[in-house]
Every structure is written in C-alpha cells, then in structure tokens.
Symmetry: C2
Subunit: 250 residues, 2 copies
Amino acid sequence: MQATKCAGVGCKINEHVRCGISDDADAARLENARLRQVYRRGDRIFTQAEMASGLYCLQSGHVLLWYLDPFGHRTAFRVAGPGEIMGHRSLFGEDPHAATAEALTTCHICWYPKGLVDELIGTYPSFARRFLRTLARDRGPPDALLLRGLHMPIRVRLVYLLLILRERHGEIWRDGSLHLELPLLRRDIASLLGARPESVTRAIQDLKRDGVATFNGRHVVVSNLEALYNEANQEYDLGLPDSEEIAHSG
Amino acid sequence: MQATKCAGVGCKINEHVRCGISDDADAARLENARLRQVYRRGDRIFTQAEMASGLYCLQSGHVLLWYLDPFGHRTAFRVAGPGEIMGHRSLFGEDPHAATAEALTTCHICWYPKGLVDELIGTYPSFARRFLRTLARDRGPPDALLLRGLHMPIRVRLVYLLLILRERHGEIWRDGSLHLELPLLRRDIASLLGARPESVTRAIQDLKRDGVATFNGRHVVVSNLEALYNEANQEYDLGLPDSEEIAHSG
DNA sequence: CGTACCGTTGAGGTGAGTCAAAGTAAGTGG
DNA sequence: CCACTTACTTTGACTCACCTCAACGGTACG
C-alpha cells in the first residue's frame, strides 16, 4: 500500500467539515494533513489493540470490521462502504482499537491525524455535533457480555456477569469471601446473558455444586474468589487477546 | 414519582460541566433547568420508541436498560448505577430511544432538557469532548444483526443480512429480481451472523431449496423479493415493536 | 388465607457446533 | 497454457447445550 497526499474530493470527513469550517486556512490545513492510501484485499487498515492515530474515511471499496474474542473467534460486526468513517470510536474513546479493519476489496482510504481532528472539534461546534451524532448512531462491537453470549456456555457468561457486577455490588469480607447483593431478578440475569431463567437456575446449581459460588435469592457468596477467576480464565482469557494472536488470525 | 427542582450535588452531568463551563451564568442556568425525580422499582425512566427529551443522570439506585426485540424477547444490555448517564445515545443520535430504562431499586434521577444540553455543547468544546468520549466508550444495544443473533435461527439472520446489504450491494433487474454482489466470503458472513461457515452453507441450501434465493459464489439472486420479506416478517417484524407491545411487556 | 409472582426441577426435542473428508475455485510458477 | 498449490466451500455423521413446556415449591403482600 502506497501513501500519497492528495487533493481529491469525495471524502466524508470533508463533508463533516464543510458544514462547519468557516475559516479557509483551517480547511486548507485539513486538506494538507490528509493522507490517501490504497489497500488490497486482506490488508489491514488498523488492528485490534493498537492505539488510534487518526481517523479513517473510506472513499471506495469495502471494509470488514471484526474482533477476536477471548475464544479466538473472529466476530464481525460491520461492513463499511464508501463514504463511511472508521476508527472514530477508539479515537474519541481514547482507547486502543477494539477491532481490526480489513479490506474486503481494493480500497482508497483517507486518513486524518488525531491532533488536528481534536483541534477542529475545539474550534467548530458543528464539527463536534456531527461526530456526536455519528457515534450515537453507530454501534461498535457488541458489549462484552452479549458478545460472548454467542460462543460461551451460560455458566461462563454468568461468571463474567458476577465479575463485572463485583465492582459495584460486591464486598470482600474479612475471611476473603466475596459477597454480592444483586439488584436483579433471575429473569433480569437471564436477559443480560441472553438466556432463559431456567437455564440461569441450572447454571447457578452447577456453580454451587462445584463449590464456586452460592446463591441465596439475590445474595451471592463466592467463598473462593480464585475459583471464580479460574472459571473465567481457565479456557478463555479475560483480557484482550494479545497482538501476536490477532496478527496471525484471519 | 414526584418532580422537584433541586440544588443538590453529586450529579455526573455537573461534573461533565464543571470542567468546562467557565461562565457562572451558564452554570446557574443548567442548575436551574435540572429536574430531580424519584422512581421506585419497576418504574420506567424512559421507554423504547419514545423520542428523547433530555439527558438523564442517575444519582442513586440502579437501572436496567433493555429492549424488546422483534421476537418479543426482553434483552437487557446494561445495568446503570450511581453517577452514570442515560439516554445520551438517542439524544445525540436524534433517534427514538432504542431501549427502555427501568428502575431496579428506588432511584433518584436528574433530568436536563435537550435544548440546553445542545446549546452548551455549542459553547463549550470540553463539554462536547466529554460526551464524545462517553459515547465512544459506551456501547448501546447491540447492532440489529447480532442482537437478533441470540434468538433467531441462522436462516432468518441470513435473510436480515441480505436485506441490510441490499441497500448498498443490491440491484433490481427489469424482471423484478434482486441481484446482490456480496464482497463477503462464507466465513465473513458466518462471523457477521455469529455462526460457523458450515451452518451458513446449510442455511443457503435451505433458502435455495425453498425457492427464496440462489447463491452462486458471491452472486446472489432473489427471484421473488416478496418471499424474502415474508421470510423476515412472517414470525418477526422488521420494524420496531409497537409501543403498545412495549408498554405491556416486562 | 388466598392470589400473584418468582424460582426450581424434570422430561423431551432440536438447532447448530464439531470433526473429518471430499469437492471446487483461484492463484502461481514453469 | 497447463500442472500444482492453496484456500475456500460443501457434505455428512455425530453430539450436546440450551430451549420449550409443564408442574411444583416458596415467598410476599393484601
């Protein structure tokens, strides 16, 4: 893929910009900072777990956005086409990319540096509003809980839920046991896990049988916190898959 | 639930604001416009398919966010706790609420009118940046495709995918048939559907057998478009469930 | 003390995953 | 232009986690 500065048109960011940037100097600066690259099928525009360096705008071609979940499953969630922007979520979220963008066909893609985008947002409110709207409408990779729902057994999903709710609803006692007071009914747990209440009950019984956690109504006791973590970590990693893994998949 | 103006503190929006609003008059206006309400378990803060009127900020208590999918399944995707904001997605997206917010416990919730929030975003860039960050980090209800992934058979998910890709990749011929040139491999389709390539193949065979659509490599022909729509509509509605339905569920 | 709602338990069916192997298309080098 | 390699697709047999339906036990509340 070769990089060239270009003065072409048809870039969505320019549209985002035009409706707001009144100063010609700013418009020119944006135009100058713009970089156009060509990608071929299979090329990566950006990669999961990398930090975001700027904003991408697809001029032609198609891009598949997917992430590698803790199972090593490649899960796609968006097909981007001409005129769409990419990488905005991690740019504004100040998080590493949650997904990998991969060219499905030959693509012409514009890139704008993060610093300049930031600056223009400070200067032009309508620019910011545009992105607020874009972000609000576009849903990134599905939330961890549901994402895993597709591949993880309910028992493991339940453990993840406990680990997530631990921060806000958990309390560790002197003896090292974790106590949780859940504000959720069984049917609420079920709908968070994408399962049926009966299945949740059964998963709860499983955890009790194996001495991982005990549920009494909405009160949960995890006597052996380590066992809970093992439950989640044993087969699947809690954290992001490392970049090595991502680099070799797909 | 009773509504009162209040001068209390501990509201996240105020935090969003404080770091940016330098003008005392603006700060006071925001404080005055603020409305505090009390909700009890089961009360709805807002309801799916309603238009957003403002921004909600949870001061105490817990709220479950869920939506009714086309199956009539209640699918929860977030438990909001003290300090979190709600309704921002539909506010900035200028879309109706995609979900219903329901109090799990007694809640104290602040509300700020849309107009004022808009105005402040125009005045204070740091205010806008805060929300850009919040929006980028929070994932709303999962995307339509994946959302349905939990409950729909693969065959139906595949039909939805075709209907979605129709806009960009489809072309209707003279004879009324729909032709799609997908830029996707089987494994890409599979990962969009949350399924395995083998299962996608089988679903494709099913559709061919029933005369709904024919796949030749990446070229898809839907001879009877109506049949495709029926496939999606028969059991489940494509659009939002009507508010009547939402009002009576849960 | 009855009426709801919630939670649990059991029996039975099935959609989709897994594994393995054969078939097909696409791309490469001589 | 044809052999060869590689990657993608299809098919079949098997297994199982979860859903469905249905009944029963528990607890809260009027």
